[in-house]
Assembly symmetry: C3
Homo-oligomer: 181 residues x 3
């Protein structure tokens, strides 16, 4: 089973994902890392910062290669984003050609109350993130739900929403195990 796990920054995606992967003995593959490796193999980049300046056609080629590496696995957890916030707006993390390559079985949206995410981001001094208001974080999570529905339409993957509120990690992991364990 190929399980894609997504969540906005500060939602606690990594903790949930790693706890679940450990419990199930599943490998986590990071989509961005696979893209970087595919780009290095193509000799189009040497360091990760250059990934942002790939031309769109090369970007798609690299995305497809990274996706195919995942699609070839029988089981894994894919660490990626439903959408990425860019200066030009929300960018799909799993556009049609990536879904076609990965062929995911399940798409997990890890969510938390926007106010709590806002607070977690503010309290984290190591994150040099531009500050979004709680309302903007809420909007981002809503948009991720909408695009998750489009991913479900295109790929046939199920969409599972897991809530990870403050103090709720154990329950979030339990929900994941109940659904996918």
């Amino acid at each position: 089973m190929r399980i894609v796990i997504t969540g906005v920054p500060g939602v606690g995606k990594s903790t949930v994902m790693e706890g679940f992967a450990r419990a199930q003995g599943l490998e986590i593959v990071n989509f961005g890392t696979l893209m970087f490796e595919a780009a290095k193999a193509q000799h189009v980049v040497t360091d990760r910062d250059q990934m942002r300046s790939l031309d769109p056609a090369m970007q798609r080629t690299i995305q497809k290669q990274a996706g195919q590496a995942i699609g070839a696995k029988a089981s894994c957890i894919v660490d990626t984003h439903a959408t990425v916030r860019t200066p030009r707006g929300y960018l799909a993390g799993l556009p049609a050609w990536v879904l076609d390559a990965i062929k995911p079985d399940v798409l997990v949206l890890v969510e938390a109350p926007a106010e709590q995410i806002h607070h977690r981001r503010t309290a984290d001094p190591t994150r040099a993130r531009d500050q979004q208001s709680a309302a903007e974080i809420d909007q981002h999570q809503q948009f991720n739900r909408a695009i998750a529905a489009a991913y479900a339409m295109h790929s046939g993957a199920t969409v599972l929403t897991i809530t990870n509120p403050d103090g709720g990690l154990e329950q979030a992991l339990q929900q994941l195990r109940n659904a996918l364990g």
Copy 2:
């Protein structure tokens, strides 16, 4: 005109659909029943419970065959779900390959206030359904709207939302007749 009618359990979809079909002299085809018939014809199942354990590739084949049987009709009402709630999350009732086969003209979402749906489900002793809270029912209806938008993008079908609140059946039927009669 091929009209797909959807709605979460307890929304009163059957009543609305049957009232409309009778008024318009339209045939209702149940997508699940057509899938079962296609699977029996392929000799992969003998009873309906086995439908859940089809392997994914066979599932798609069966879905396409059922969809093509509908796409061959000039006019009908298709009884199905925008999404189905499964243990692994929401599953698209009309994934891309089903839309390509059915070629729907209109997708109807029958909706009702989540609190009323919750009450109808609780009051119905014949339905052995796991209980969702009103908030979860609301979330399900929201997700169905989002996936309906994806269906509209992929197929070109229009999306029509009809409200069927308590005591509002006649008005719901009137809305359908005004739009599609």
Copy 3:
């Protein structure tokens, strides 16, 4: 960069679009006008009212031709709708085959508070529009966000939401310039 700009009637899309196009020296192409020109070239219509009665297959052909004319441009602003409200429900303004032809880089949703849009429509005597309530306008804007997510999934375009509240034109233009200038 091909930028598609959308917004419900009364949101002030034209003003925002024209202000931005002037500032950037970008051409605005109206998708409906391009469709009409493609249909005239095909000798299937002579006036614009006939566009509504094209059969579905011809409609798609015309849409693809109009889309290809845009896709051939290196840069432009496309004036169109995320969805159009029709008697049969919401119709996708950018179905899959149109996105494939246009290959948009950015999709802009110009939004405003539903109450303000409602008030602007009511106050405009030149618009012979059927009156929607503020709640219906809100629902239309929500549906447009959902379909924008589907457009992002299919095309890879980013989705940028710009707010144009009463008295907020300069700020809306500033947001657009910051994001896309």
